[in-house]
């Protein structure tokens, strides 16, 4: 692959990334420090994703960003074959996962080094990696028995 196409892929990937705003900055700061941080409602304790001004459970506007365990379960996954986004041209088909975080919220992500024999509800843990650009993004890895204490 030429340098030029690597660069254009990074550019087209960069364009897909969510804009960093004052509201979601703590999420991105957390990933850069290898932590998954979510908004946690000060009134009822509910975690939420993505960032939102109010708690969807109790409507409180008071919250604190907290690091969560990064653990969850693989609710489901697909392999995307269709060319929808040119940034993914070199990796199709690619895996997309729907993860249920232990703290509650579901989140779309991908798996690194996905084993061939995936099964739903496999335990997964967060890993922090660049995508096709500089920014650290959240991915997950299937837990192996030796990973847990």
């Amino acid at each position: 692959m030429s340098t030029q196409s690597t660069q254009s892929r990074a550019e087209s990937y960069e364009a897909l990334l969510p804009e960093i705003t004052p509201e979601n900055q703590p999420y991105w700061d957390g990933l850069a420090e290898s932590e998954l941080r979510l908004q946690n409602c000060d009134a009822c304790g509910e975690y939420r994703f993505p960032d939102s001004e109010v708690c969807p459970r109790c409507l409180s506007g008071s919250f604190t960003w907290r690091a969560v365990s990064g653990r969850g379960r693989l609710w489901s996954w697909i392999r995307m074959h269709q060319r929808y986004l040119s940034a993914f041209d070199d990796v199709r088909p690619y895996l997309v996962a729907y993860i249920k975080l232990d703290e509650g919220p579901p989140i779309i992500s991908t798996l690194v080094e996905a084993p061939d024999d995936l099964a739903f509800d496999l335990p997964v843990r967060a890993v922090f990696e660049p995508g096709f650009s500089e920014r650290t993004i959240l991915k997950f890895a299937v837990e192996r028995p030796e990973d847990s204490e």
Binding site: L16, P18, I78, V96, P106, G131
Partner: protein
């Protein structure tokens, strides 16, 4: 004038010739002209005077432009519905509510779509609050969120590689009997299995198509309906419930919302699932049909993939399903054409695909707003 909600009827239907519109167009077709054409057909179908229309509900197209194009300058009630599939059922529900409350007497529900000629893309843009977070993983398009549900479903219940084939084949076989259906070339189970993946485990043949077209239906009271041209189709019951989350993916495959809708619907109508003669199921992607059959008690939970035998669901079989060809073969009118087919089946106008002795049809849509109606031809309502 006010009316009982069960004394409301669909009296006229109209739709485009989807097949001829599928021919390539070098510029976007006018969605308003398509919509006005469907409305003209619906008006001719029932023989009502256009000036009697006093409620206008539009979907995917703004009401003011359609009111201008179609010459309806003085509606007593208007509402634009967003261009999503869940809105087709809601349009009929709103018409029923308006007529039963007396807010309007004759409601035209009109849908217009030029998505194919305008080259609308369903993946890669737009979406909800998580869309930007999802796209950085290459996740996009409603079909992919349905594929997530189906991957889990088949893992939970053991559905095989070809479990969706009967649904895709059934739609195509019915489309071959429908002169206006876009895709009419039938295929075998092997051909289904050889079709390419889009969002694996879903294949191209599991996907709705994208085509230009419009649909209209006219709703009024049974009282007014009796003096119109065609036999009225009564809305015996209708109900809805949301399952709205950040994702199109519902972790219970819309089961709990569907069950809630089903219990109210069957109670209101006094009709049981077994008594329904024809099933019209919103099928943006084939797995949605399985989720719907289970949510509405037509098939045991986890077993719909075994229930959908190809001989059982054909138009002349015991449980006819999507007799016009559905979204994968007839047209992608976001549930609207399923309403037209319901009416035609109940009037005995469905030609080669007519369900014999059809007197009760159920429309169902399992989506972030689950809706369902039971429609009957007059006299068939259990009293």
């Amino acid at each position: 004038m006010q009316h009982e909600p069960t004394d409301i009827a669909i009296v006229g239907v109209g739709q485009s010739d989807f097949r001829s519109l599928y021919a390539a167009s070098d510029r976007p077709r006018d969605a308003f002209a398509l919509a006005a054409g469907a409305l003209r057909e619906a008006i001719e179908d029932c023989g009502i005077d256009k000036d009697e229309i006093d409620g206008l509900l539009t979907c995917r197209i703004p009401y003011d432009r359609l009111a201008t194009v179609a010459g309806l300058p003085h509606p007593r009630f208007v509402h634009d519905l967003e261009g999503t599939g869940r809105m087709s059922g809601i349009a009929l529900q709103e018409a029923v509510a308006l007529i039963s409350s007396g807010m309007a007497d004759v409601v035209a529900c009109v849908y217009g779509n030029n998505g194919r000629s305008a080259k609308v893309k369903y993946g890669g843009d737009g979406g909800g609050p998580t869309a930007a977070y999802d796209e950085m993983y290459g996740m996009t398009s409603p079909g992919a969120y349905v594929a997530l549900m189906y991957q889990r479903y088949r893992g939970m219940y053991g559905a095989g590689e070809d479990a969706l084939a009967p649904l895709a084949i059934n739609n195509r076989r019915h489309a071959a009997l429908n002169p206006v259906a876009v895709l009419q070339k039938e295929f075998t189970r092997e051909e289904y299995l050889n079709s390419r993946y889009i969002a694996e485990p879903l294949r191209l043949l599991d996907y709705c198509l994208i085509n230009d077209g419009a649909v209209a239906f006219i709703v009024t009271s049974m009282e007014r309906a009796r003096s119109l041209r065609k036999p009225p189709v009564r809305v015996a019951a209708t109900a809805g419930m949301g399952h709205v989350t950040n994702y199109y993916t519902a972790e219970d495959f819309f089961y709990s919302a569907s069950q809630d809708v089903a219990s109210r619907l069957y109670e209101q109508s006094g009709i049981t699932p077994e008594e329904v003669d024809c099933l019209q199921i919103y099928d943006n992607f084939t797995p949605t049909i399985l989720f719907t059959l289970e949510g509405f008690n037509h098939a045991p939970r986890g077993e719909a993939w075994q229930w959908v035998d190809e001989e059982k669901i054909r138009h002349d079989g015991p449980r006819p399903l999507n007799t016009a060809g559905g979204h994968t073969s007839e047209s992608y009118m976001q549930g609207w054409a399923h309403h037209v087919e319901s009416v035609r089946q109940l009037r005995g106008e469905a030609g080669a695909r007519q369900v014999p002795g059809c007197s009760t049809v159920q429309y169902m849509c399992a989506s972030p707003i689950v809706t369902s109606h039971i429609l009957t031809n007059d006299g068939a309502v259990a009293r």
